[in-house]
Subunit: 391 residues, 2 copies
Amino acid sequence: MVIRGAMGLPVVGMVGGGQLSRMTHQAAIALGLSLRVLADAEHDSAALVAQGVSIGEHTSLDDLRAFARGCEVVTFDHEHVPEGLLEGLEAEGFAIAPGSAALRHAQDKLVMRERLAALGVPVPPFCPVATVADVEGFAHHVGWPLVLKAATGGYDGKGVWVVSDREEAAEVLAGGMRILAEQLVPLRRELAAVVARSPYGQGAAWPVVETVQSDGICVEVVAPAPGLSEERALEAQGLALRLADELAVVGVLAVELFETDDGVLVNELAMRPHNSAHWTIEGARTSQFEQHLRAVLDYPLGETSLTARWTVMANLLGGDEPEPDTDRRLHLLWGRDPGLKVHLYGKQIRPGRKIGHVTALGDDLDEVRRRAQVGAAYLRDGTWPDDWPHT
Amino acid sequence: MVIRGAMGLPVVGMVGGGQLSRMTHQAAIALGLSLRVLADAEHDSAALVAQGVSIGEHTSLDDLRAFARGCEVVTFDHEHVPEGLLEGLEAEGFAIAPGSAALRHAQDKLVMRERLAALGVPVPPFCPVATVADVEGFAHHVGWPLVLKAATGGYDGKGVWVVSDREEAAEVLAGGMRILAEQLVPLRRELAAVVARSPYGQGAAWPVVETVQSDGICVEVVAPAPGLSEERALEAQGLALRLADELAVVGVLAVELFETDDGVLVNELAMRPHNSAHWTIEGARTSQFEQHLRAVLDYPLGETSLTARWTVMANLLGGDEPEPDTDRRLHLLWGRDPGLKVHLYGKQIRPGRKIGHVTALGDDLDEVRRRAQVGAAYLRDGTWPDDWPHT
């Protein structure tokens, strides 16, 4: 199937109208493309800014098929398209990237854990559990508290529970989901190794970053990860590139890692542009969004070198006000920090929802980090520290 | 008039659906905005990628008014809206940026020359001419050959003639346009000083660049201008900032300059994002497109520092093939030069038409320059030098 748009260039569709589609569309514009988006609603983040928007359900084969018909290749801004539908599209000859055989490892944590364990990739001790007795048996090996995870459907800390005893475990199991238990790993910090892979088999890695979570939501990313030895960085990049290859990923693969005293363990996989690489928009010569498009179109991948010594991204989460005066805050924020890069997603504000991010770049890590943190907090709450900018 | 979109952010409209609108929309996405575009046709460069597109005539007050009604501020991707219509919109209370009183200096070369001369700004010797006798009288002072220019409507070398004698001059005058005559200045090279100014009066300048023209069309921009003394660079930046202020420009102001043995002379003004600053997308911390939006919205302007020692932009002009296999060429080009940044405008290809640009960045000027030149030539013609990449 060859579906071409302006200048004879391919038409790429992305399922999902969130900020990842929005920022992918932004990158697509440079490549002469106009991203087609399958969105849930007209006010979705990407639907506000892209020209070719279809409204439909990502759980409907009919909607997916109608959407795919207009695209040379279809990719995804989330993992929520059911595996059976992905296989159905493939059986009908539609090109999807990543393919269902890869994507299931980002959709189902148990499938992923089992595959990674079989590949000899370090993962936390885990066990599928169906009953409280299963959990207790596993606790016998790893101790309480431990982690229970929904095998499918979780994100941003949803679908993950730290449980301290059999009663708390029973409560989670009562939900009726497929659950796996994991050791609560004693970690130093979280890292992410983000790479891309093309169908041709080319791989490209950005530097490994440190990610900071709060309540299961990523709040800050520091690139490159401070104080990470070159040896461990290469180990993590190599691991991510190997996984991209073993799982035949096409597009961006984000490997979320736990750093422990003994090395790194794989926590989660995502096969799409990922929050831990938003910093690449300004901080790297090729952004993850351009790279994802290059990968799904099997173009040679772009250079991943850095544009600054340090880049820090802070997520902007919705605060308590339903309608903060973001425009006024932007005026005042940029008056104090004209170099701060701001990304707003056009989303309705709910407490804790990711509605944007800010990026700071520079030579002094402490300063760059503080600029990003203060900027995001100011856009959210309208307050900043008395000593800001640093006095 | 307060017209707000998603997240309570202002709605900006741009008249004109060309690549400048296209790239401004790209920048708008990060700022939480979705640029509204008034385009001539649905297949216009910006109309292919923006969500809020109106089709209409920029020479129709009705169309302009209907468009402006949905926008908090209206700006422009060209200078072709007649001055009377701009004044009409202003009289009706619509906010346009830059305003008509500024924009006329970018619309009418004679008005511009007279104003700049009155301000004591160095310009080439010039004279309005209506008859061949006028031209001959002027030639008496500056000699043949000399330059005739249409006061309005010219771009990319159109509306500019180098004439060697009275017969050639007569031919130009026979066109019936308002014409000015100028000395053919003995120039070393052309430079551009690009700045932005906000209504608040804040100004920001990027480094002065060297621009290379061929047949009156910009083919290459080198940032910063090689070998330019700091003194002359500051002189040019200061001149551009002063002009932005004197003319009360709002948005980006590009000042095209002739560098002569004695200093710089102002050649042309543009009050919008300009070809000579496309390099800022990757080469500066704030691109001209983001800066233009910040300026017309009266946000504090962004940092203009560089992200690389050298940045070179080469324009991609349409070649002789109406339908080159651009997709295939992209594959092969990026295979050789994965760091080259490519911008394609989605435009139909005509020989000599600007259909995209490429940008190279790095530490070695000769190499960066060659990468940009070879990349643009390859996308146009499908051929590259035998020794590329440098062997």
